[in-house]
Symmetry: C2
Subunit: 205 residues, 2 copies
Protein backbone atom coordinates (compact mmCIF):
# COMPACT_ATOMS: atom_id res chain seq x y z
CA UNK A 1 0.00 0.00 0.00
CA UNK A 2 3.03 2.30 0.13
CA UNK A 3 4.30 4.14 -2.95
CA UNK A 4 6.90 1.45 -3.37
CA UNK A 5 4.39 -1.12 -4.45
CA UNK A 6 3.45 0.99 -7.44
CA UNK A 7 6.58 -0.04 -9.30
CA UNK A 8 6.36 -3.60 -8.15
CA UNK A 9 7.94 -4.19 -4.77
CA UNK A 10 10.91 -1.94 -5.47
CA UNK A 11 12.76 -0.86 -2.39
CA UNK A 12 12.85 2.89 -2.78
CA UNK A 13 15.97 3.44 -0.75
CA UNK A 14 17.99 0.75 -2.45
CA UNK A 15 16.95 2.08 -5.83
CA UNK A 16 18.00 5.54 -4.82
CA UNK A 17 21.36 4.31 -3.55
CA UNK A 18 21.89 2.58 -6.89
CA UNK A 19 20.95 5.67 -8.85
CA UNK A 20 23.06 8.06 -6.80
CA UNK A 21 25.99 5.64 -6.82
CA UNK A 22 25.81 5.28 -10.58
CA UNK A 23 26.13 9.01 -11.01
CA UNK A 24 28.86 9.46 -8.42
CA UNK A 25 30.92 6.47 -9.56
CA UNK A 26 30.74 7.73 -13.14
CA UNK A 27 31.88 11.19 -12.11
CA UNK A 28 34.40 10.48 -9.37
CA UNK A 29 35.42 6.88 -9.94
CA UNK A 30 35.36 4.07 -7.40
CA UNK A 31 37.69 5.66 -4.89
CA UNK A 32 36.36 9.17 -5.31
CA UNK A 33 32.75 8.20 -4.74
CA UNK A 34 32.78 7.55 -1.01
CA UNK A 35 30.07 5.93 1.05
CA UNK A 36 29.76 9.28 2.80
CA UNK A 37 29.06 11.18 -0.38
CA UNK A 38 26.62 8.54 -1.52
CA UNK A 39 24.78 8.51 1.80
CA UNK A 40 24.67 12.29 1.93
CA UNK A 41 23.27 12.50 -1.58
CA UNK A 42 20.71 9.79 -0.86
CA UNK A 43 19.74 11.55 2.34
CA UNK A 44 20.54 8.86 4.88
CA UNK A 45 23.45 8.00 7.19
CA UNK A 46 26.39 5.92 6.07
CA UNK A 47 25.41 3.06 8.32
CA UNK A 48 21.98 2.85 6.73
CA UNK A 49 23.64 2.02 3.41
CA UNK A 50 24.71 -1.30 4.86
CA UNK A 51 21.11 -2.36 5.31
CA UNK A 52 20.96 -2.57 1.52
CA UNK A 53 24.46 -3.46 0.43
CA UNK A 54 27.10 -5.40 2.32
CA UNK A 55 29.95 -3.24 1.08
CA UNK A 56 30.98 -0.48 -1.28
CA UNK A 57 32.25 -3.15 -3.63
CA UNK A 58 28.76 -4.64 -3.82
CA UNK A 59 27.27 -1.31 -4.75
CA UNK A 60 29.84 -0.95 -7.48
CA UNK A 61 29.10 -4.40 -8.86
CA UNK A 62 25.41 -3.56 -8.94
CA UNK A 63 26.14 -0.30 -10.75
CA UNK A 64 28.51 -1.90 -13.24
CA UNK A 65 26.49 -5.02 -13.95
CA UNK A 66 24.96 -3.60 -17.14
CA UNK A 67 28.00 -1.69 -18.28
CA UNK A 68 28.36 -3.60 -21.54
CA UNK A 69 25.60 -3.13 -24.01
CA UNK A 70 26.40 -3.15 -27.68
CA UNK A 71 24.70 -2.10 -30.88
CA UNK A 72 22.90 -5.02 -32.51
CA UNK A 73 22.81 -6.90 -29.26
CA UNK A 74 19.24 -7.99 -29.91
CA UNK A 75 19.59 -8.10 -33.66
CA UNK A 76 22.43 -10.62 -33.81
CA UNK A 77 20.06 -13.13 -35.33
CA UNK A 78 19.64 -11.42 -38.67
CA UNK A 79 23.26 -10.63 -39.34
CA UNK A 80 23.10 -12.26 -42.78
CA UNK A 81 20.06 -10.27 -43.76
CA UNK A 82 21.42 -7.06 -42.26
CA UNK A 83 24.76 -7.40 -44.01
CA UNK A 84 23.10 -7.58 -47.42
CA UNK A 85 21.95 -4.01 -46.89
CA UNK A 86 25.56 -2.98 -47.44
CA UNK A 87 25.91 0.67 -46.66
CA UNK A 88 22.60 0.51 -44.85
CA UNK A 89 24.12 -1.90 -42.35
CA UNK A 90 27.05 0.41 -41.74
CA UNK A 91 24.65 3.32 -41.27
CA UNK A 92 22.44 1.37 -38.89
CA UNK A 93 25.39 0.23 -36.80
CA UNK A 94 26.70 3.76 -36.64
CA UNK A 95 23.33 5.20 -35.63
CA UNK A 96 23.05 2.66 -32.82
CA UNK A 97 26.52 3.65 -31.70
CA UNK A 98 25.61 7.31 -31.91
CA UNK A 99 22.51 6.76 -29.82
CA UNK A 100 24.62 5.10 -27.14
CA UNK A 101 27.08 7.98 -27.22
CA UNK A 102 24.33 10.48 -26.48
CA UNK A 103 22.19 8.37 -24.18
CA UNK A 104 22.43 9.63 -20.60
CA UNK A 105 22.60 6.20 -19.03
CA UNK A 106 25.05 4.75 -21.54
CA UNK A 107 27.15 7.86 -21.21
CA UNK A 108 27.56 7.29 -17.48
CA UNK A 109 28.51 3.66 -18.03
CA UNK A 110 31.04 4.59 -20.69
CA UNK A 111 32.56 7.23 -18.42
CA UNK A 112 32.73 4.74 -15.57
CA UNK A 113 34.43 2.28 -17.87
CA UNK A 114 37.02 4.81 -18.97
CA UNK A 115 37.67 6.00 -15.41
CA UNK A 116 38.14 2.52 -14.00
CA UNK A 117 39.81 0.98 -17.04
CA UNK A 118 43.31 0.97 -15.59
CA UNK A 119 42.19 0.44 -12.01
CA UNK A 120 40.05 -2.63 -12.55
CA UNK A 121 41.48 -5.67 -14.31
CA UNK A 122 38.10 -7.28 -14.76
CA UNK A 123 36.76 -4.20 -16.51
CA UNK A 124 39.83 -4.20 -18.75
CA UNK A 125 39.19 -7.77 -19.76
CA UNK A 126 35.51 -7.07 -20.37
CA UNK A 127 36.42 -4.00 -22.37
CA UNK A 128 38.58 -6.16 -24.60
CA UNK A 129 36.09 -8.99 -24.95
CA UNK A 130 32.67 -7.36 -24.76
CA UNK A 131 33.43 -3.94 -26.10
CA UNK A 132 36.13 -4.60 -28.63
CA UNK A 133 36.14 -8.25 -29.68
CA UNK A 134 32.37 -8.62 -29.76
CA UNK A 135 31.92 -5.60 -32.03
CA UNK A 136 34.79 -6.67 -34.24
CA UNK A 137 33.19 -10.10 -34.56
CA UNK A 138 29.79 -8.77 -35.59
CA UNK A 139 31.32 -6.33 -38.03
CA UNK A 140 33.69 -8.91 -39.50
CA UNK A 141 30.85 -11.31 -40.15
CA UNK A 142 28.82 -8.62 -41.86
CA UNK A 143 31.73 -7.43 -43.99
CA UNK A 144 32.60 -10.99 -44.92
CA UNK A 145 29.09 -11.52 -46.19
CA UNK A 146 29.30 -8.25 -48.14
CA UNK A 147 32.50 -9.47 -49.76
CA UNK A 148 30.92 -12.76 -50.72
CA UNK A 149 28.13 -10.82 -52.36
CA UNK A 150 30.50 -8.45 -54.13
CA UNK A 151 29.11 -5.46 -52.28
CA UNK A 152 32.53 -4.40 -51.00
CA UNK A 153 36.14 -5.07 -52.01
CA UNK A 154 37.85 -8.22 -50.79
CA UNK A 155 40.07 -7.39 -47.83
CA UNK A 156 40.72 -8.72 -44.36
CA UNK A 157 37.30 -8.34 -42.65
CA UNK A 158 38.89 -7.95 -39.23
CA UNK A 159 41.11 -5.17 -40.49
CA UNK A 160 38.35 -3.05 -41.94
CA UNK A 161 36.21 -3.74 -38.88
CA UNK A 162 39.03 -2.36 -36.79
CA UNK A 163 39.30 0.72 -38.99
CA UNK A 164 35.59 1.29 -38.73
CA UNK A 165 35.24 0.70 -34.99
CA UNK A 166 38.29 2.67 -33.88
CA UNK A 167 36.94 5.93 -35.23
CA UNK A 168 33.53 5.33 -33.67
CA UNK A 169 35.25 4.81 -30.35
CA UNK A 170 37.36 7.93 -30.66
CA UNK A 171 34.32 10.04 -31.51
CA UNK A 172 32.47 8.63 -28.53
CA UNK A 173 35.39 9.36 -26.23
CA UNK A 174 35.53 12.94 -27.45
CA UNK A 175 31.80 13.41 -27.03
CA UNK A 176 31.93 11.96 -23.53
CA UNK A 177 34.81 14.24 -22.57
CA UNK A 178 33.10 17.34 -23.89
CA UNK A 179 29.79 16.55 -22.25
CA UNK A 180 31.59 15.95 -18.96
CA UNK A 181 32.59 19.61 -19.01
CA UNK A 182 29.25 20.71 -20.43
CA UNK A 183 30.96 21.78 -23.64
CA UNK A 184 28.88 21.93 -26.77
CA UNK A 185 29.10 18.89 -29.02
CA UNK A 186 27.55 20.54 -32.07
CA UNK A 187 30.94 20.46 -33.80
CA UNK A 188 30.71 16.67 -33.59
CA UNK A 189 27.05 16.37 -34.58
CA UNK A 190 27.65 15.22 -38.15
CA UNK A 191 30.95 13.45 -37.65
CA UNK A 192 29.36 10.03 -37.38
CA UNK A 193 27.75 10.48 -40.78
CA UNK A 194 30.97 11.78 -42.30
CA UNK A 195 32.78 8.75 -40.94
CA UNK A 196 30.26 6.45 -42.62
CA UNK A 197 30.73 8.26 -45.92
CA UNK A 198 34.51 8.11 -45.77
CA UNK A 199 34.54 4.50 -44.69
CA UNK A 200 32.01 3.30 -47.19
CA UNK A 201 33.79 5.05 -50.03
CA UNK A 202 36.95 3.26 -48.95
CA UNK A 203 35.52 -0.24 -49.00
CA UNK A 204 32.77 -0.20 -51.62
CA UNK A 205 33.37 -1.66 -55.05
Amino acid sequence: MTENTTLGRKNGTKQKILKVSTTLFSELGYRGASIRKIAKEVGIRESAIYNHYASKEEIFLDVAKDIFSSPFSSKDLNIQEEALKGKGFVQNFTMQYKLLAFDKSSEKMFRLLMIELFANKELREQFMSEFHAKNIKVLSEAFFIMMQNSIIKSQDPMMISYEFLSTLFYIRLQITLMRFDNDSTTALSTIFEKHVEFFWDSIKI
Copy 2:
Protein backbone atom coordinates in the same frame (compact mmCIF):
# COMPACT_ATOMS: atom_id res chain seq x y z
CA MET B 1 82.86 14.27 -5.14
CA THR B 2 79.84 12.10 -4.44
CA GLU B 3 78.22 9.94 -7.09
CA ASN B 4 75.63 12.65 -7.56
CA THR B 5 78.08 15.00 -9.18
CA THR B 6 78.65 12.50 -11.97
CA LEU B 7 75.36 13.39 -13.58
CA GLY B 8 75.74 17.08 -12.91
CA ARG B 9 74.49 18.17 -9.49
CA LYS B 10 71.45 15.98 -9.58
CA ASN B 11 69.82 15.45 -6.22
CA GLY B 12 69.68 11.68 -6.05
CA THR B 13 66.76 11.49 -3.68
CA LYS B 14 64.62 13.98 -5.53
CA GLN B 15 65.32 12.16 -8.78
CA LYS B 16 64.34 8.90 -7.19
CA ILE B 17 61.12 10.36 -5.81
CA LEU B 18 60.29 11.62 -9.29
CA LYS B 19 61.03 8.27 -10.88
CA VAL B 20 59.09 6.23 -8.34
CA SER B 21 56.19 8.68 -8.42
CA THR B 22 56.02 8.53 -12.19
CA THR B 23 55.65 4.78 -12.06
CA LEU B 24 53.17 4.74 -9.20
CA PHE B 25 51.02 7.58 -10.56
CA SER B 26 50.89 5.84 -13.93
CA GLU B 27 49.82 2.57 -12.33
CA LEU B 28 47.57 3.70 -9.50
CA GLY B 29 46.52 7.21 -10.47
CA TYR B 30 46.83 10.32 -8.36
CA ARG B 31 44.73 9.14 -5.47
CA GLY B 32 45.99 5.59 -5.51
CA ALA B 33 49.63 6.57 -5.38
CA SER B 34 49.92 7.71 -1.78
CA ILE B 35 52.83 9.56 -0.22
CA ARG B 36 53.31 6.50 1.96
CA LYS B 37 53.69 4.16 -0.97
CA ILE B 38 56.02 6.56 -2.72
CA ALA B 39 58.19 7.01 0.39
CA LYS B 40 58.30 3.28 1.03
CA GLU B 41 59.34 2.55 -2.54
CA VAL B 42 61.98 5.28 -2.46
CA GLY B 43 63.25 3.95 0.84
CA ILE B 44 62.70 7.00 3.04
CA ARG B 45 60.03 8.22 5.48
CA GLU B 46 57.01 10.19 4.37
CA SER B 47 58.23 13.33 6.09
CA ALA B 48 61.50 13.24 4.16
CA ILE B 49 59.52 13.63 0.94
CA TYR B 50 58.63 17.15 2.01
CA ASN B 51 62.27 18.18 1.95
CA HIS B 52 62.05 17.86 -1.83
CA TYR B 53 58.45 18.65 -2.66
CA ALA B 54 56.01 20.90 -0.83
CA SER B 55 53.03 18.63 -1.48
CA LYS B 56 51.78 15.61 -3.34
CA GLU B 57 50.30 17.96 -5.91
CA GLU B 58 53.78 19.34 -6.63
CA ILE B 59 55.16 15.88 -7.22
CA PHE B 60 52.34 15.19 -9.63
CA LEU B 61 52.96 18.41 -11.54
CA ASP B 62 56.62 17.50 -11.85
CA VAL B 63 55.70 14.03 -13.10
CA ALA B 64 53.11 15.31 -15.56
CA LYS B 65 55.06 18.28 -16.89
CA ASP B 66 56.27 16.42 -19.98
CA ILE B 67 53.13 14.42 -20.55
CA PHE B 68 52.47 15.84 -23.99
CA SER B 69 54.98 15.00 -26.63
CA SER B 70 53.82 14.52 -30.18
CA PRO B 71 55.20 13.04 -33.36
CA PHE B 72 56.86 15.67 -35.53
CA SER B 73 57.26 17.98 -32.56
CA SER B 74 60.74 18.95 -33.72
CA LYS B 75 60.01 18.56 -37.39
CA ASP B 76 57.18 21.08 -37.63
CA LEU B 77 59.38 23.33 -39.68
CA ASN B 78 59.49 21.15 -42.78
CA ILE B 79 55.83 20.31 -43.01
CA GLN B 80 55.66 21.44 -46.65
CA GLU B 81 58.63 19.33 -47.61
CA GLU B 82 57.42 16.37 -45.55
CA ALA B 83 53.93 16.49 -47.03
CA LEU B 84 55.27 16.17 -50.56
CA LYS B 85 56.50 12.72 -49.62
CA GLY B 86 52.85 11.65 -49.71
CA LYS B 87 52.59 8.13 -48.41
CA GLY B 88 56.07 8.52 -46.95
CA PHE B 89 54.75 11.26 -44.69
CA VAL B 90 51.92 9.08 -43.48
CA GLN B 91 54.35 6.26 -42.85
CA ASN B 92 56.76 8.49 -40.96
CA PHE B 93 54.02 9.94 -38.80
CA THR B 94 52.74 6.47 -38.02
CA MET B 95 56.20 5.16 -37.14
CA GLN B 96 56.72 8.07 -34.74
CA TYR B 97 53.37 7.26 -33.19
CA LYS B 98 54.29 3.60 -32.99
CA LEU B 99 57.56 4.42 -31.28
CA LEU B 100 55.70 6.45 -28.67
CA ALA B 101 53.25 3.61 -28.13
CA PHE B 102 56.06 1.21 -27.31
CA ASP B 103 58.40 3.60 -25.52
CA LYS B 104 58.49 2.82 -21.80
CA SER B 105 58.45 6.44 -20.69
CA SER B 106 55.78 7.57 -23.16
CA GLU B 107 53.73 4.55 -22.21
CA LYS B 108 53.66 5.63 -18.57
CA MET B 109 52.65 9.15 -19.52
CA PHE B 110 49.89 7.89 -21.78
CA ARG B 111 48.60 5.61 -19.04
CA LEU B 112 48.68 8.46 -16.56
CA LEU B 113 46.76 10.61 -19.02
CA MET B 114 44.09 7.97 -19.51
CA ILE B 115 43.78 7.29 -15.78
CA GLU B 116 43.43 10.94 -14.83
CA LEU B 117 41.47 12.05 -17.89
CA PHE B 118 38.12 12.28 -16.13
CA ALA B 119 39.56 13.30 -12.77
CA ASN B 120 41.62 16.26 -13.94
CA LYS B 121 40.04 19.03 -15.97
CA GLU B 122 43.36 20.55 -16.94
CA LEU B 123 44.53 17.23 -18.35
CA ARG B 124 41.29 16.94 -20.27
CA GLU B 125 41.81 20.33 -21.85
CA GLN B 126 45.40 19.53 -22.68
CA PHE B 127 44.33 16.22 -24.14
CA MET B 128 41.97 18.05 -26.44
CA SER B 129 44.41 20.79 -27.43
CA GLU B 130 47.82 19.16 -27.32
CA PHE B 131 46.95 15.60 -28.09
CA HIS B 132 44.03 15.92 -30.44
CA ALA B 133 43.90 19.39 -31.98
CA LYS B 134 47.65 19.71 -32.45
CA ASN B 135 47.91 16.42 -34.31
CA ILE B 136 44.84 17.20 -36.38
CA LYS B 137 46.38 20.53 -37.32
CA VAL B 138 49.69 19.06 -38.47
CA LEU B 139 47.96 16.31 -40.39
CA SER B 140 45.45 18.67 -41.98
CA GLU B 141 48.21 20.93 -43.21
CA ALA B 142 50.07 18.03 -44.70
CA PHE B 143 46.99 16.56 -46.38
CA PHE B 144 46.02 19.97 -47.71
CA ILE B 145 49.41 20.28 -49.36
CA MET B 146 49.04 16.80 -50.80
CA MET B 147 45.69 17.79 -52.29
CA GLN B 148 47.16 20.92 -53.84
CA ASN B 149 49.80 18.75 -55.43
CA SER B 150 47.30 16.16 -56.62
CA ILE B 151 48.87 13.45 -54.52
CA ILE B 152 45.58 12.59 -52.81
CA LYS B 153 41.90 13.13 -53.54
CA SER B 154 40.28 16.42 -52.63
CA GLN B 155 38.33 16.04 -49.39
CA ASP B 156 38.00 17.83 -46.10
CA PRO B 157 41.55 17.69 -44.68
CA MET B 158 40.28 17.78 -41.09
CA MET B 159 37.98 14.86 -41.75
CA ILE B 160 40.61 12.54 -43.14
CA SER B 161 43.02 13.64 -40.41
CA TYR B 162 40.41 12.59 -37.90
CA GLU B 163 39.96 9.25 -39.62
CA PHE B 164 43.68 8.68 -39.62
CA LEU B 165 44.37 9.79 -36.05
CA SER B 166 41.45 8.02 -34.40
CA THR B 167 42.69 4.60 -35.41
CA LEU B 168 46.22 5.38 -34.27
CA PHE B 169 44.81 6.38 -30.90
CA TYR B 170 42.70 3.25 -30.59
CA ILE B 171 45.65 1.03 -31.41
CA ARG B 172 47.76 2.82 -28.84
CA LEU B 173 45.09 2.44 -26.20
CA GLN B 174 44.85 -1.27 -26.88
CA ILE B 175 48.61 -1.71 -26.75
CA THR B 176 48.78 0.22 -23.49
CA LEU B 177 46.02 -1.88 -21.97
CA MET B 178 47.62 -5.14 -23.00
CA ARG B 179 51.07 -4.16 -21.79
CA PHE B 180 49.57 -3.09 -18.48
CA ASP B 181 48.59 -6.72 -17.92
CA ASN B 182 51.79 -8.03 -19.48
CA ASP B 183 49.80 -9.53 -22.33
CA SER B 184 51.59 -10.13 -25.58
CA THR B 185 51.15 -7.42 -28.20
CA THR B 186 52.40 -9.49 -31.10
CA ALA B 187 48.88 -9.63 -32.52
CA LEU B 188 49.11 -5.86 -32.87
CA SER B 189 52.66 -5.72 -34.21
CA THR B 190 51.74 -5.07 -37.83
CA ILE B 191 48.50 -3.24 -37.30
CA PHE B 192 50.07 0.20 -37.64
CA GLU B 193 51.37 -0.74 -41.08
CA LYS B 194 48.03 -2.23 -42.10
CA HIS B 195 46.33 0.97 -41.02
CA VAL B 196 48.67 3.01 -43.23
CA GLU B 197 47.91 0.75 -46.18
CA PHE B 198 44.15 0.95 -45.71
CA PHE B 199 44.18 4.67 -45.14
CA TRP B 200 46.49 5.49 -48.01
CA ASP B 201 44.47 3.38 -50.41
CA SER B 202 41.41 5.32 -49.29
CA ILE B 203 42.79 8.77 -49.95
CA LYS B 204 45.30 8.35 -52.80
CA ILE B 205 44.40 9.31 -56.33
